[in-house]
């Protein structure tokens, strides 16, 4: 669903993209390297909480705030249903520069 939303907005999403920066090295669920836009869906099952420690999250958020790239960070615990997730993705994409 996330890939569909981002693709519909014109982004070319790659799966398992490795993003490296100051204080982080993460493999993202979806990322468009050309437009530096993507998303990461954190689940316990996938071991994301081991990889994305609070320190790594803090480093990622610092880079987002600097404008290095744009990532939608989604914790599975905060998603009630697919409609809510889709609405969040649409609203996130609406804030991004058009590709």
């Amino acid at each position: 669903m996330l890939e569909r939303c981002f693709s519909a907005a014109g982004f070319h999403i790659e799966h398992g993209f490795k993003l490296v920066g100051a204080g982080f090295e993460v493999v993202l669920d979806g990322y468009d390297p050309a437009h530096r836009v993507g998303y990461e869906y954190l689940t316990t099952e996938a071991g994301d909480r081991v990889e994305l420690t609070p320190a790594v999250i803090a480093a990622l958020e610092a880079a987002i705030e600097r404008g290095d790239f744009h990532l939608l960070l989604i914790d599975e615990l905060e998603v009630a249903d697919e409609a809510e997730l889709e609405l969040a993705a649409q609203r996130f994409i609406a804030r991004l520069p058009r590709p």
Partner: protein, 433 residues
């Protein structure tokens, strides 16, 4: 081979089973009657004991206690200081009643709690009235994220959740949903101000309401306690007297027939009441003994016989028994009609039981050591050797011989019926072998 074929054996087994089950039903009916009779005897014994104790100790005064000790020899009545115990309780009750009456929440209870006009009640009503519209707003704003939105300052400059986080969009969605319920507010900031004010005001009201309700509950508890202690004070004399009489009665229960002979010699009315109590104790023991020996034990034997017959019905119903015969002699022994024996046994039980149960001549007892209630109740005409109390008496008095009362109105025909067919007692009535 001669004998009786398996069809006939099976038919007779079924008839025997029906007969045994019918007899069990008869014994169960008699046991139910016995249970009812024992309740009646218990009630009569309780009444007799209470009346005797009340006659021996009519009041809880030093004089009455001395008189009761003289009559019974029960010194603990004197030593236990029953009067002092009563007066201690009286003092405790009076002290506490004084404390409660001085307590404003009891003293002014009408002013505080009268419906609609009591000051506490009125304040509760007013607060409830003020609280109602706020509660309506708060209830309408119920949402899983409401408290979080208020806490993180959603709709204000203090809200700092990054727009790249899912929670940012969760807050956004929840804010929109809440705002839709309160369309008069143009923004969540305005709604937030009302919700925060509502929440804080409700907290103030609820705190005050809890305080008021606690005051009301304390006042009610004091009034309840005052009522209970007033009742306790009103029943003080009767309760302590009754407790003392129960002590005395407990002691009287432990005594034998002859133990009070000398002490009660000068008070014939009390002597008769004492005999009545002792006679009722003996009656209860005899009735229980009769039911045990002549109903419960035979019933156990019948139950075992029924099990055996049921097993035999299964056994004789198997295909391999189709050509089996039961020899004539064995058949006759096995299936002889026992209904007459059962009937006589029941009649004997009922006549003996009735003789003991209906006995009311307690005054004819003697306050002597070698007195046996069974003799008096049955005029010495019925066998009671199977009763433990009778056996024990004869072991203590092997030379005892009962002399019948020439004026006795004992029913000879009942005795004759109850003692007849003794020969059948020795042989088993339940031979289902």
């Amino acid at each position: 081979m001669t004998g009786h074929g398996h069809y006939e054996v099976q038919r007779c087994l079924r008839e025997q089973l029906a007969q045994l089950e019918g007899e069990v039903a008869q014994l169960d009916r008699l046991l139910a009657e016995h249970a009812q009779r024992i309740k009646e005897v218990d009630a009569a014994e309780t009444q007799a004991g209470a009346e005797l104790a009340a006659a021996m100790l009519p009041a809880l005064t030093p004089e009455a206690i001395e008189q009761a000790v003289r009559l019974t020899g029960y010194a603990p009545l004197r030593q236990n200081d029953l009067i002092a115990a009563r007066e201690r309780e009286r003092a405790t009750l009076q002290t506490r009643l004084g404390e409660i009456e001085a307590e404003p929440r009891y003293r002014d209870r009408e002013l505080l709690r009268a419906p609609r006009i009591g000051s506490l009640v009125r304040e509760v009503d007013e607060l409830e009235e003020f609280r109602a519209p706020l509660l309506q707003v708060w209830t309408l704003s119920a949402h899983p994220r409401r408290d979080r939105l208020l806490q993180v300052g959603y709709g204000t400059d203090k809200y700092s959740v990054g727009w790249w986080r899912m929670s940012y969009y969760g807050d956004w969605k929840a804010g929109d949903e809440l705002l839709a319920r309160f369309p008069k507010h143009g923004s969540f900031a305005a709604l937030r101000a009302e919700l925060v004010s509502t929440r804080d005001t409700l907290a103030v009201y609820d705190t005050r309401l809890a305080e008021l309700r606690e005051q009301i509950a304390i006042s009610e508890a004091l009034e309840r306690e005052h009522g209970e202690r007033t009742d306790a004070l009103a029943s003080l004399e009767a309760r302590h007297l009754e407790a003392a009489q129960r002590l005395l009665w407990g002691y009287l229960r432990s005594l034998g027939m002859a133990d009070l002979a000398d002490r009660l010699a000068a008070t014939p009315d009390l002597a008769i009441m004492y005999k009545r109590l002792k006679g009722m104790e003996a009656k209860r023991e005899y009735l229980e003994g009769l039911a045990n020996e002549q109903l419960k034990k035979p019933r156990q034997e019948l139950a075992a016989a029924i099990q055996k017959v049921r097993r035999d019905i299964v056994k004789w119903g198997r295909p391999k028994m189709a050509w089996q015969n039961m020899p004539g002699e064995q058949f006759e022994r096995r299936f002889q009609d026992r209904s007459e024996r059962y009937r006589k046994r029941r009649e004997r039980y009922q006549q003996t039981y009735h003789t003991v149960y209906a006995f009311d001549g307690y005054h004819r007892a003697s306050l002597v050591d070698d007195f046996l209630w069974w003799d008096l109740m049955t005029d010495g005409r019925l066998d009671g050797d199977f009763l433990p109390g009778v056996q024990e008496f004869y072991s203590r008095h092997p030379d005892h011989r009962y002399e019948r009362d020439p004026l006795s109105s004992f029913d000879d025909s009942a005795a004759a019926a109850a003692t007849s067919d003794d020969s059948s007692r020795a042989s088993s009535l339940l031979d289902a072998s």
